[in-house]
């Protein structure tokens, strides 16, 4: 029989293969991709086309400019909170991770590949929103690029940490998905999805600046216009990033 015929051993890079597999799996979930990748850009395009000029109630900024950071927050929720936890908890529930634990590669690297692929697509979507805003509607790219990058990184880590925490605690993939959907509303409310920027009531704004995405949107907004984000916002984000990630590591189960 040929199955056990000896073939020369050669080094096989496993991480690209894992990433490619995870990318294929993501592409085969078209709804998730439409929601996280295409929908934010479409929303930006609609806003840009329907209300192009500066608006007094938005502090004299055009709607698209105010919405860009909100949509970037939206992308992070779509992938880290609505996508990833359901995938991971489902893989644990169906003992896919357990099975991986019997192989030389183990489940940790597979989960890492999943996180990396989700992050890569979220970064692509973010770049897409920035590029569309710049090219189609003349919104300047972030002027304080370093501040923007730091804010984005902290926001991404806190959302990934929260997503991993959901995956750690939810018994099934369905539960994780439901929790993600439930969290979408408060997270995005304080990010300003329904009442962007200055249109949000003052009290809500104050509370919002202590939520992860409220703080993230403030920090991203400030760095878009050229100032370094307020340290308080970054501290809030860093706090969430540390707490969520630590809790996720503490509670994560492979089976």
């Amino acid at each position: 029989m040929t199955a056990h015929a000896v073939r020369p051993a050669r080094p096989r890079p496993v991480l690209p293969k894992l990433a490619l597999t995870e990318a294929k799996l993501l592409i085969r979930e078209p709804i998730a991709l439409l929601w996280g990748l295409a929908f934010p850009m479409a929303l930006l395009a609609v806003m840009g086309l329907t209300s192009p000029g500066p608006q007094a109630d938005l502090g004299g900024l055009p709607l698209v400019a105010v919405y860009e950071p909100v949509l970037i927050a939206f992308i992070s929720v779509a992938f880290a909170i609505q996508g990833l936890p359901g995938q991971l908890a489902g893989q644990r529930e169906r003992r896919i991770l357990r099975r991986l634990a019997t192989t030389p590669v183990g489940p940790a690297r597979v989960v890492a590949a999943q996180v990396v692929v989700n992050l890569a697509v979220a970064l692509t979507a973010t770049a897409g929103v920035l590029a569309l805003g710049r090219i189609a509607f003349g919104v300047a790219l972030p002027r304080q690029a370093a501040g923007f990058a730091v804010s984005y990184l902290l926001a991404a880590v806190s959302m990934l940490g929260l997503g991993m925490l959901i995956a750690a605690l939810a018994p099934t993939g369905r539960t994780a998905g439901a929790v993600g959907t439930l969290l979408f509303f408060p997270l995005m409310f304080f990010a300003g999805l329904w009442t962007p920027g200055a249109t949000m009531p003052a009290a809500a704004q104050r509370i919002g600046s202590y939520t992860p995405l409220g703080a993230a949107v403030h920090a991203l907004q400030e760095s878009m216009y050229g100032s370094w984000p307020h340290p308080a916002q970054l501290a809030v984000l860093a706090g969430y990033a540390v707490v969520f990630t630590a809790a996720a590591i503490r509670f994560f189960r492979w089976d």
Partner: protein, 320 residues
């Protein structure tokens, strides 16, 4: 050479003892069965062999390695098929095999392995669309893709139809013929009788019996049963005193004689001398299932072929 050695393995979860005291060895090229009812400690035992759990006490060696400490190297050489473990729905058979092949130093040829397992035609089918039997065979393929020296197969045929079970059994024999040592976890006695060279019967976390299925059946199964309808009324005392006969009973027109190996010869000789024909004569050998019930006091789950009366003599005598 012993490929697997387990000595006094003990494992508890909280206050619950899963494995109390389990010892056995498995020789190279053997198909070794681990039998037991649900909760007898089968899965924990193989998880200790596979390095997925660390025993609280006792010693385990697989291919000379400590499965927990040398987990990395062990996993190159031990293929494991876990009970009820799924794969991503949207990957095709070929993609899964390709992915798992990349996990190992010197993998088997994935395409050839799929052909061998009768999955060649399903290469581009996504996991979700596979039948239960195809999923099970893919799971076996994944346990073999690293060209392991030891394969652990847990509840191999649960949920398969009788035809699929039989072809899976043939497959397992084929794998062994290539020199792979196989640990087969099952609660199907017919599967163990058909496939295993030796079995360990676990009961409440302990090894209740260890040996070949035939030896266990003969030793613990309660002897031979001879059943027939005599062509004319028969005095039971005529048979009761014969050498090897341990009991005679009558239900309606049917006589049941129990006894040891020699009983059949004595009974047929006596009937012939008396000019009595034995109609509908059936001789039932004790089966592993009888031994299992005697050992554990528990009835094992009926096999997938249940409903069809199983001529036990055929199961044991026919294939051996």
């Amino acid at each position: 050479m012993a490929v697997i050695e387990a000595e006094h393995v003990h494992k508890r979860y909280g206050g619950k003892i899963a494995v109390d005291d389990v010892s056995f060895t498995v020789a190279e090229g053997e198909i070794f069965g681990i039998l037991g009812s649900n909760g007898a400690g089968k899965t924990t035992t193989v998880e200790c062999l596979a390095g997925l759990r660390r025993p609280d006490r006792g010693r385990v060696r697989v291919l000379g390695m400590d499965p927990w400490r040398d987990a990395r190297e062990l996993r190159q050489q031990v293929g494991v098929q876990l009970q009820e473990s799924d794969l991503p729905d949207k990957l095709t058979v070929a993609e899964v095999i390709g992915l798992y092949a990349a996990f190992y130093r010197a993998p088997a040829d994935g395409a050839a392995l799929l052909d061998l397992l009768g999955l060649g035609g399903a290469r581009h089918t996504r996991y979700r669309k596979l039948s239960g039997g195809q999923k099970q065979r893919l799971s076996i393929a994944l346990a073999l893709i690293g060209r392991p020296r030891v394969a652990v197969l847990d509840e191999l045929t649960t949920g398969l139809d009788p035809a699929a079970r039989r072809s899976t059994w043939a497959l397992v024999s084929g794998i062994r013929d290539q020199g792979v040592t196989i640990v087969l976890v099952t609660h199907f006695m017919d599967e163990a009788e058909r496939l295993c060279d030796r079995v360990a019967v676990l009961d409440a976390g302990r090894v209740a019996a260890l040996g070949s299925p035939a030896a266990l059946a003969g030793r613990l199964g309660g002897g031979q049963r001879i059943r027939f309808r005599p062509s004319r009324p028969l005095d039971g005392r005529l048979l009761a005193g014969l050498p090897g006969v341990t009991g005679v009973s009558r239900t309606g027109g049917t006589v049941l004689v129990t006894g040891t190996e020699g009983a059949l010869t004595a009974v047929t000789a006596t009937l012939a001398r008396e000019g009595i024909a034995a109609e509908q004569l059936r001789v039932e050998q004790p089966s592993l299932e009888d031994a299992f019930v005697a050992l554990t006091g528990a009835a094992p789950k009926p096999a997938a072929t249940a409903g069809v009366p199983r001529p036990l003599a055929q199961t044991l005598g026919g294939s051996r």
